[in-house]
Structures are given as structure tokens and as C-alpha cells.
């Protein structure tokens, strides 16, 4: 059995200024514990309370979206999340990825692209409209409100990608600059 090259992994984390990384099946309690660690870390680093809350908020929406998707889609392996928080060039970045059915991934990509066209005022309007939609209608559009909320907290358009995998699935990634 070979020993994994942890040094190489660590170097990559250091180079990319990654302060937190998680890869594995994500549970409710893990979301809470990692979120707590993230807040404490940012507090020790003397990040502003506003930045800390924004990063935490985006982290929660992303990870809870993944949990929600895994539960509703019943897609095997969809509850395995990859979450990365980094700090580069004066900005925190929160990224998350998970396995999706390719058509679901394409639908979210479309939503992200549409949201990227909106300015802050239009985003607020979209947010309030989504908030006023009946609950069952919200359920059909999935992560609508969460995605708008994330776009509102981002300091640059949210980036997303979908990598086609086998059996009609894909790997969906989303990256948010705070």
C-alpha cells in the first residue's frame, strides 16, 4: 500500500490559499460543525463580522442545497459534497460541487447565467418576487431563493460549470466570490 502524498496536497492548498476543504458525504451535523469552524477561523483572523456572516451564509445555502438535492433527487452519491473556502486577492471564495443528473445541472446552470445578468437592484426584485411565491411553486423551482441570495452576497458574478460524467450524470460546481 502506498502512502498518499499529503505534502503535495497541502502545497496545493497553500498555493490556492485554501483555508478549509471538505470532501465526503455531508450530513446536517457536519454542515453545522464545519460552519462553526469557519466562523471561528474568520473571527481569529479578524475578518469583519460582515464578511464572516456573508461567507457563512453562502456556505450554508450551498451545502444545504446539496443536502436538499440529494434527498429529493434520490441520486446515489449526490450527498457527497466537495466544499472549498479560500482567501485570495482580498476576497473570500466559497465553492461547492456535487453529483447531479445532467438535466438538473443544466437547469441550474441556466439559472446562474440568468442571475449573472442582473444588477443588485434587479436581484433584490427577483429575491422579493421569489419570496412571495407560494411554497409548492418554490419547491418545483428548487433552489431558487437560495441561488438569488447567494448572487446578492457575491461581489462578482457567480461562476458555475457542469462536467459530463457517465450514466446521465454530471459534476456540478459553483464558485462564489464574496
Amino acid at each position: 500500500m502506498s502512502v498518499p502524498d499529503l505534502y503535495e496536497l497541502r502545497q496545493r492548498f497553500d498555493n490556492e490559499r485554501i483555508l478549509l476543504c471538505f470532501n465526503g458525504p455531508i450530513s446536517r451535523s457536519l454542515i453545522e460543525e464545519i460552519g462553526n469552524a469557519l466562523r471561528n477561523y474568520m473571527k481569529t483572523e479578524q475578518a469583519s463580522p460582515v464578511a464572516t456572516l456573508d461567507v457563512f451564509a453562502v456556505y450554508i445555502e450551498l451545502t444545504q442545497n446539496i443536502r436538499h438535492y440529494a434527498q429529493t433527487s434520490q441520486l446515489a452519491g449526490a450527498d457527497t459534497a466537495t466544499v472549498v473556502v479560500s482567501y485570495r486577492d482580498g476576497h473570500y471564495n466559497v465553492s461547492a460541487g456535487n453529483l447531479v443528473r445532467i438535466e438538473d445541472g443544466e437547469a441550474v446552470l441556466k439559472q446562474i447565467t440568468a442571475l449573472a445578468q442582473l444588477d443588485k437592484t434587479e436581484l433584490k426584485k427577483a429575491y422579493k418576487e421569489q419570496l412571495r411565491k407560494p411554497r409548492d411553486e418554490q419547491a418545483t423551482t428548487g433552489a431558487g431563493l437560495g441561488l438569488i441570495d447567494i448572487a446578492r452576497k457575491a461581489s462578482a458574478p457567480v461562476m458555475s460549470s457542469l462536467k459530463t460524467l457517465e450514466n446521465g450524470t454530471g459534476y456540478f460546481s459553483l464558485s462564489v466570490q464574496i
Binding site: S48, V50, L53, H68, L131, L145, G146
Partner: protein, 125 residues
């Protein structure tokens, strides 16, 4: 009427109600995975309180972070309070926040936009 005394957890706020004084108190973070389920007791308490008497209701909030599903539930509650206010009920919301964290004030402000009752956003040093 039964009052609520729900202790806080990492992802859910403390919730206390006092039907004699007409007060709801909530403090902490709110990001449960199923907000509708978590808040169902509070939602029923509010409906019951409004349906069974005509006394004022004061909502004292020291909430910090709300995930979007908690925001949705809070908006439903504020909508119900707004309807009661439109029918002549005395409703007050006092939302206290740490002045270092303007995000909390912005969140409260967005709720306030849709309410015509007294909605005080109080910064604390």
C-alpha cells in the same frame, strides 16, 4: 394557552412566548434544514394568539443569521402580523443587532419594507 419555551441549538434560535404579556422573544441563529417544520409550533402559537384575543403583540428579536427558508417562514409570520395590524391590532417588532454587523440591520430592513406596523431596528454597541 400553552406558551413556548424552545431552547436554542447551533442552528436554531431560542424561542419564548408569553401569552399573558403578549410577547414573543427569539434570539440566535436560524438555519435548520427544515424551517417549516421547526417553526410550525411558533406559527400555530401566533395564529392562536391572534384568533383568541385582541390584545397587543410585541415581537422582540435578537436574530443574527437566517437561512433563506427561515426568511421565508419569518416573512409568513410578519404577513400574518400585518393582516392583524390592518384589522386594528397593536403590533410592534423590536429587532436588536450588534452595530458592528450591518448585514443584520439590512436583513431586518428588508422585512420592515413590507410592514406598516411599528418595526424598530435597534443597533447596540
Amino acid at each position: 394557552m400553552n406558551d413556548l419555551k424552545i431552547v436554542s441549538t447551533q442552528s436554531t434560535p431560542l424561542i419564548e412566548t408569553d401569552s399573558n404579556r403578549g410577547v414573543i422573544y427569539m434570539e440566535g441563529d436560524s438555519y435548520p434544514e427544515n424551517s417549516f417544520e421547526f417553526y410550525s409550533e411558533l406559527v400555530s402559537w401566533v395564529s392562536h394568539y391572534l384568533a383568541t384575543n385582541s390584545r397587543p403583540l410585541v415581537v422582540e428579536l435578537a436574530l443574527l443569521y437566517l437561512n433563506t427558508s427561515s426568511i421565508k417562514v419569518m416573512m409568513d409570520i410578519f404577513d400574518e402580523l400585518e393582516d392583524a395590524h390592518q384589522s386594528g391590532r397593536d403590533i410592534t417588532v423590536n429587532w436588536r443587532y450588534d452595530v458592528d454587523n450591518e448585514r443584520v440591520a439590512e436583513l431586518a430592513e428588508e422585512f420592515k419594507e413590507d410592514c406598516s406596523f411599528a418595526f424598530n431596528i435597534i443597533g447596540q454597541p
